[in-house]
Symmetry: none
DNA sequence: TAGGATTTGTCCGTATGTATA
DNA sequence: CTATACATACGGACAAATCCT
């Protein structure tokens, strides 16, 4: 449990008001100065709270305009076409970059590879930053997800550190079995998602 | 394209040095004060640059210890080529029976039905114990899961009571949109699973 | 084991720039 | 053009965690 700080409690309060529907998607929040006056703190303290809400995808700020409630919480679709929703934040390319950076730190993974079946996979993994490219290097041109198991856990301190959430926060654990074209297992991947930031979306074909 | 700012250029410089291997995973960066002196800026400006690197998963700070290079960049493991299917509904296979049995002892339901589209659904729900049979009674012979959104949460005291877990335990929230044969929405079902007891399995068709 | 030095985290205040309304 | 509102950058002070003697 993280120590209660001013900006954290302010963020919690605002998040609660967002969840309660006090502000609806697209609404503009009070200005930073107004919020600072309301909570009796410096404007920078409010900014830190707003920054955490923006990081979680709940709001987004537009210079000169205000801080607006994000249309929808962060979603990650698991459908046949894995694409990021662009209507997430009404900002265009800036929103896209923010989304990508958000995703990049919203999950942890640990994979197990069958070295007996895939000679040279370890060297390939060291040479390539991408698992996909490493698999391609040892002859697995394509792979598909054969099974995914999902469960909810609490973040350990180590996981919280890497996911940039607080220890004990809810996380989503995914264990996925990826198989090659012939159905042979090529990777058993465990992934931990920051549950408060990520929503997995499953859609049938 | 973001305007070049001081903290951005500092972050770019540091990111370049990380990429160049000047600092290796696990290494400690110079202190904020040292970096501030090196770049000739205020400590807070360095902090903003470091925050952006931390957000991207490149470094992480430990109070009293320093700022360290992240062991492994947090790469998103779900590639765009990975296809997901979902087998939690519409099949009547063994997976569904297992699913239902799990649900019975470890999950809570709350459903929303479009009464305007389904006249008599409320009466049918009162008469039938099964949602499926209630829907059949008002003319929806079959329905499929159009979309499922999954996220991890913490159990509220009320949820904990019903799920027989402790408050604050991890739970898996599922929001499923069920549609009829014509694609019309027939049920929006929210389900909370006891995360420590339940594993959802997603398998291709 | 104790305590002081180091280092990051939080909070305040002020000033100025830049985009928006 | 003017006023508003967020963004950046400066500065100082203290708290909290860690490290080292």
């Amino acid at each position: 449990m993280p120590r209660p700080t001013l900006w954290r409690s302010i963020a919690d309060t605002l998040r609660g008001e967002l969840a309660a529907g006090q502000y609806r998607p697209g609404d503009r929040l009070p200005t930073e100065a107004q919020l600072a006056a309301r909570f009796g703190v410096n404007r920078h303290t409010v900014r830190q709270a707003l920054a955490s809400l923006a990081e979680a995808g709940h709001v987004h700020a537009r210079r000169g305009a205000g801080v607006f409630v994000t249309a929808r919480p962060t979603e990650y679709p698991l459908g046949r076409r894995v694409r990021f929703h662009q209507n997430l934040a009404a900002g265009g390319q800036a929103a896209e970059r923010r989304m990508l950076s958000l995703v990049r730190r919203a999950a942890l993974y640990r994979s197990v590879f069958p070295e007996a079946r895939l000679p040279g996979i370890l060297a390939a993994l060291e040479a390539e930053a991408s698992v996909t490219r490493a698999l391609a290097r040892v002859g697995v041109a394509d792979f598909t997800r054969a099974e995914t198991r999902l469960t909810a856990k609490l973040a350990t301190p180590t996981q919280a550190l890497h996911l940039r959430i607080r220890p004990g926060a809810p996380i989503l654990r995914s264990v996925a079995l990826n198989v090659g074209p012939g159905g042979q297992p090529v990777e058993l991947g465990r992934t931990w998602f920051a549950g408060e930031r990520v929503t997995l979306t499953v859609t049938p074909d």
